[in-house]
Symmetry: D2
Subunit: 249 residues, 4 copies
């Protein structure tokens, strides 16, 4: 599977490294706004032992048409910002290239744009693209169906300076109908990220816990999405929809 990556910030770099190490994907190119690393080899820049051919380009100096003409891909993975989709969206949809967006937030008009694109190609969007979090969210949803009267709370821990409640905790809470006041946010030291969904029964407790180790976890989530979006017909897909088929015996 040939992959193009949009965005090359801290997370984008970790995702690129994961893609290089993964045998089911070939990272054909990275596109970013900045011209800083233009034309550098991706494996060489990241210090990864890989003979994949991909280079870094700036969206300022290269049109998506000539990029895709010269370096066609099957999937575009987007770890940039809300604006990233403007660069590649229409052309990708025209060519039937799958779109995987891990952008954490889109305004209403962007969501409409995604929907429009999804008429022509398979589009996937998940604001938190780690496999573990999405699995836990779905598993917890089923537990609530099994035992509707349990009390659910979320405990999330992150490094001292992370402001506000974690976006992931908010998404979990919304998905599980947990009231915002039942999210407990702890901020201390250098904790990378921990989310616990605590389920209290009268005589037993179930804890579903996710701990992040490094950003590379996002890369693995994107690869899972890419592998499971492949061959899907046009439409807008969520992580839940890609996971659902695995919840069967």
């Amino acid at each position: 599977m040939r992959v193009g990556l949009i965005g090359f910030g801290k997370t984008g770099k970790a995702v690129a490294a994961t893609l290089l190490r993964n045998k089911s994907t070939i990272l054909e190119w990275v596109v970013r706004k900045s011209e800083k690393l233009e034309h550098r080899s991706i494996p060489e820049f990241l210090g990864e032992e890989s003979d994949e051919p991909g280079h870094i380009y700036s969206s300022n100096n290269l049109s998506i048409v000539s990029l895709l003409d010269n370096h066609p891909v099957d999937i575009i993975i987007d770890f940039s910002s809300e604006e990233g989709i403007n660069y590649y969206g229409i052309e990708a949809a025209e060519r039937g290239i799958g779109i995987i967006s891990a952008v954490s937030h889109y305004r209403e008009d962007k969501i409409s744009f995604l929907k429009k694109l999804s008429k022509k190609t398979a589009v996937f969007w998940s604001p938190n693209i780690t496999l573990g979090i999405n699995y836990l969210m779905l598993a917890a949803k089923f537990l609530k169906k099994i035992a509707p009267h349990i009390d659910m709370a979320i405990i999330e821990e992150h490094f001292k300076d992370k402001p506000g409640v974690s976006g992931t905790a908010k998404v979990i809470a919304k998905n599980l109908d947990i009231k915002p006041e039942e999210i407990k946010s702890v901020r201390a030291g250098g904790i990378i990220g921990k989310h616990e969904i605590l389920c209290g029964f009268p005589f037993q407790t179930v804890r579903l816990i996710h701990e992040s180790i490094t950003r590379e976890a996002f890369g693995n989530g994107a690869i899972f999405a890419a592998n499971n979006l492949r061959g899907k017909e046009a439409g807008l897909y969520t992580f839940e929809e890609l996971l659902m088929p695995y919840f069967a015996l």
Copy 2:
């Protein structure tokens, strides 16, 4: 739903108390081997505020036929020993009464007997009947399908004197293809019971944890089984089969 309970040891008593507190069931009787508490009122003996009519009987002095003639039930819940089924099995099957067995171990011949009974009535057997443990086991199974390469281990903690590896941990391990050496058994102080299924990804960790608070958790599991076995046709059911329909959107 009218319920009869076989067995009145420590766990049986906790289950009886849970049944009395539950509005969807009426506990019609308890049968035990010992003649010690014969003819005592169940709520009165347990100190439960309940006006349910059930009394305690000894299997030595009362045949299952006259018991069921005088106090018919929809479901028999068995928290006794391997031998308990000899007392009520055939008669329950004849009458189409659902059987829920939480006996922790059956020899091969007993399992054959269960299968025979299940030709005529709905029979359910689970060696650990807590909802939480069975849910976690199934949820973990799906995670393994989603991410086949994760490393799984089981950490189980119990009170100092509990001998050997917990039966529940063994069942989990068997279900998830976890090697026995990946079960870590901790014995310390008065810990009631904790089971953790640790799932290690390269860049994230998922922990599925169950903690027991009191034995009443078994009662709630039995009630769940009773409610979900109701109306099922004849057959031998596992906890997995009763849970499976809830793993759907």
Copy 3:
């Protein structure tokens, strides 16, 4: 060591059972307000196999003077309410009997009264008398001295209906200069009680966790206090002071 117990509610009963099982103490009597169980044998009522001689008395019908004349003790352990001390305080101080109070809250005038009594006998007061919590609080205090810049937070979990922030969490926070907003209170199901002091360093995390299993833990704390208060001269003692000598090599 001969012990008298004031208070016989749920916790008082658990403490009495622990005292009966403990070989270093003899439970000479229990005094409570209610006349309900008057003159019952303590081991008989609690169903404990013990040949200790203690009986239950009501403070309505028996003066402390005649109680202590007939059944002298070395230590009085108080698990009653704020008013309990009125019954026995002055007489205990006169006779040099050690006082151990586990009453969770005293008004200012009661604290003054305790101080007055402590001029004549050894008085110990701890609003949470479990060994584990008091140990953790002191250990955390030392960690803060070692690493003054760590971020500290408290996560406390209790059963659904427990109102407000746990008193123990408040005491820990006060002792460690943790701001009230850094206490996260989770309420779910039937959780007995868990307190975690989370200490965040930039590149590591230390968690000091206490989990209650049953109320008997209070009994063991009282026995520790009794054993360590013995032989101490008159004065008002805290749990910290009794623990301090153990923090040495």
Copy 4:
């Protein structure tokens, strides 16, 4: 405080970065065996924003005498191997420079050598130099004095490929008289490192948990050791001895 660092492997680099960020220390030089990075500026190589002057040298091409003549230090921190001390030991002792060794294992003859050096200067050796682990070990020792009958076990978790029982777990076990079979080693995914000392009481549980986030934790431990070794007279010091004064009110 002027510091010299011996060793520049993965951990050495993380320690160097921590030293550069720390205001109480100036990193005067790094010495390593390899000639690869010879004469590079430390902050420049590590990409740290710092104007500290230190450079990287190879022990092959520079004698310790001329190094210390040109770049005198107050403390030498050793994250190299067992052999590192041969390079700098005698000269450091002669000049009264404090020695902090975080080498994980020394043979008997090396320990004798350390002892000899410690007659002339302050020498500190700790096989695991993180603050958190050493604090927990000491705190657990005191808990065992407070409650000698508790059951203690160690649960340690690390990445899949870590062979054998963690050295740190062994040291904790030896210090606390925990039998080797009570150490439970879990290996899964990419877990950086977690050590839990579980203390089981009959009616409560205390858990002392340390989680590593990154190797920089070693740097902070070394800085703590450096700050607390300063001004100490000649002698061989352990982490326990440096921590002990903080366990006081």
